[in-house]
């Protein structure tokens, strides 16, 4: 085989690092679209088998074994350079798959909570989740066609989130917009402070197309 004679591998100068970012929010809010807009590859699709931890949720009578169904998991990748990647994981939108969130959240740099102003309450569970676990997050307000523009201050009040948590008006179909959401999150997660207001990407400079 071709790899049998290959070298044993040379340790890179710096260890490889994959940074995990979660994309959360209610069903249909644009999580998969966001990942698809920014990922260098078509969002990779894998499936997680439901384990015994969640088995009580489904009717498994008459089925042998511990696993009966799968949870689709889409994720995207951004290669910064050889050995440094960002991975974006869309969190499962359905409540019964919450058990997967703990798995996804471990070691994550932070999260983007996508909100739709027409159904703001759909993102409450995600906000609660990340607040309770102390995972840094930013709120991306996806401005769909025809969606009314909301002031970040009103959204902040409605969500009841701390003043330092960035709220970004965005369009998940627009690459530049998604880039700003992610750079805002990375800065907030690493520096623990909001970006310079002069640099803040709101009000959204990207009109709906």
């Amino acid at each position: 085989m071709d790899f049998a004679a290959s070298s044993q591998g040379v340790a890179p100068a710096t260890p490889a690092l994959a940074i995990k970012i979660l994309i959360a929010g209610g069903f249909g809010v644009g999580k998969t679209t966001l990942v698809g807009t920014i990922s260098e590859i078509r969002p990779l699709h894998t499936e997680e088998l439901m384990s015994e931890r969640s088995i009580g949720v489904d009717d498994t009578s008459g089925v042998e074994g511990k696993v009966t169904t799968t949870v689709a998991l889409d994720f995207g990748r951004i290669t910064i350079r050889e050995g440094l990647w960002l991975y974006l994981f869309g969190t499962p939108g359905q409540d019964r798959f919450w058990f997967m969130w703990d798995e996804l959240a471990v070691g994550a740099l932070g999260a983007v909570v996508l909100a739709d102003t027409r159904r703001l309450q759909d993102c409450f569970p995600a906000v609660d989740y990340f607040e309770q676990r102390g995972i840094p997050f930013v709120v991306g307000v996806n401005c769909f066609d025809g969606a009314r523009r909301h002031e970040p201050a009103k959204i902040r009040k409605a969500l009841g989130i701390a003043p330092q948590i960035p709220i970004i008006l965005c369009d998940v179909r627009v690459k530049e917009s998604v880039k700003e959401v992610l750079t805002t999150l990375v800065t907030y997660a690493v520096k623990g402070v909001p970006v310079d207001p002069q640099m803040a990407p709101y009000p959204a400079p990207y009109p709906a197309q």
């Binding site: 790899f3 990779l44 088998l49 951004i78 910064i80 050995g83 440094l84 471990v106 750079t183 690493v190």
Partner: protein, 114 residues
């Protein structure tokens, strides 16, 4: 998926186990092939494919995607390969600790140049 058939086949790969052996590892833990087995023919094709993919350090999730296998099946396979001493799986580092100023700037620059 249609019925349990494909799942039963997949679980043959893992001898019915849903959890990997040994220390838990993250979805984006980096997997690196350490060596090829003395008797490659004794491994499942999927195990050999993992070893081939991970000659370049590769995150767990990418291994699953490249092999088109569910994540936890992939993780059982990786746990077995680690037990055999064929792969190393990086101990997870909290992202906040792993990202120093240089990496932070690289990430920002990389995102902005997309």
């Amino acid at each position: 998926m249609d019925g349990p058939g494909p799942l039963i086949r997949l679980f043959g790969l893992t001898k019915g186990r849903a959890r990997p052996v040994g220390e838990p590892f993250d979805l984006v833990a980096i997997v690196t092939t350490l060596r090829m087995p003395a008797e490659p023919a004794e491994l499942f094709p999927e195990h050999l494919q993992v070893l081939k993919v991970c000659r370049k350090p590769t995150p767990v999730a990418d291994v699953a995607a490249q092999l088109k296998l569910p994540l936890n099946i992939t993780r059982v396979i990786l746990g077995d390969l680690r037990r055999e001493g064929l792969v190393a799986i990086e101990r997870p580092r909290p992202a906040a600790q792993a990202i120093d100023e240089r990496i932070y700037r690289e990430v920002l620059h990389g995102l902005r140049s997309l």
